[in-house]
Symmetry: C2
């Protein structure tokens, strides 16, 4: 039996997959353990509690998501490009076998989650909308718009993408995600 130095990372990765498929209440330490070939006590060794694991999965997901977006200053100069960038970022989540955005599903379940998990979920939306607001302000569309207008567009855009993921998933129809009208949100 060779040692596997990647156990910790494997747990985190599988936990993300399972949460995005079934939600926080839809997986167990035993699922993780059997999925990567260890015992459930070994999972507890790296992540003492489920809340601890959930919070770290969310943090990891958020960091990766924002890292892929890059610095707001490097965002496309046209608002259409900013939208396209965010769109493709969310679309990757969906195409990778019909998965929800991790924080979308956590937000839906947030009524009964441990505080640490909710806090990380909130951080995802805060950080992503901050990126979007910065990126949109730099575009020519953003010129002459008030802060309130830009913020409203940013939040609406995030909501639109999250909701479209939700519906595409329920309908088992990823194409639905491509047919949404995000450009309408910057039509005025």
């Amino acid at each position: 039996m060779p040692r596997n130095p990647d156990t910790e990372a494997n747990i985190l990765s599988l936990a993300e997959t399972l949460i995005r498929k079934n939600g926080y209440n839809g997986f167990s330490f035993r699922d993780l353990a059997s999925g990567i070939g260890v015992k459930s006590s070994s999972v507890h060794y790296y992540y003492p509690t489920k809340a601890d694991l959930g919070a770290k999965v969310a943090r990891h997901y958020t960091d990766r998501f924002l890292n892929a977006l890059g610095a707001p200053e490097d965002a496309p100069a046209a608002a259409e490009g900013v939208i396209a960038k965010l769109h493709s970022q969310f679309e990757q989540a969906l195409r990778k076998d019909g998965q929800m955005c991790l924080c979308g599903i956590l937000a839906a379940e947030s009524g009964g989650l441990p505080d640490s998990v909710i806090n990380e979920t909130r951080a995802f939306f805060n950080r992503t909308s901050a990126w979007l607001i910065s990126a949109l302000k730099q575009t020519s569309w953003g010129e002459g718009k008030t802060d309130t207008q830009v913020e409203s567009a940013a939040i609406s855009m995030l909501a639109l993408f999250e909701g479209a993921l939700l519906m595409a998933r329920a309908n088992k129809n990823p194409d639905l995600f491509d047919n949404i009208d995000a450009l309408g949100l910057i039509a005025r």
Copy 2:
């Protein structure tokens, strides 16, 4: 111990509340039983399996939602009015102690739900978007628009509302739902 003839309805109602708070995997027959003051076996008496109960909760919710919308022919004549009607319908869900749309949370969890529950969830989106498409086609905004354009706007609108509910809930900030820009989706 007086008999309670409303047990069946009480179960359905509490099940809806609990699903909207914690999700399908976040409540148990025992939660229902203790919540309404019977034993869990009595819950099984009315709803043999959890899948059965889940599907009936979803069906009941969808019927109530569409009934409140009324016939598409009776929808407001202006597209702005149609949007306002749908908006207020979703807002009620949120204001009634920060709850998600039932089918929104079921859609998020749909990767691991029984087929009967998924089917009812899908029916909610199909029926609601059908209403919205019919209602929008009657408006002056709908004149001259192609079927594809109207359908895209309708689906985008539903997605926007569902996603905004999600975010408002995660942020424990219902006001977020009021600041979204649904009118942008009919700006062109």
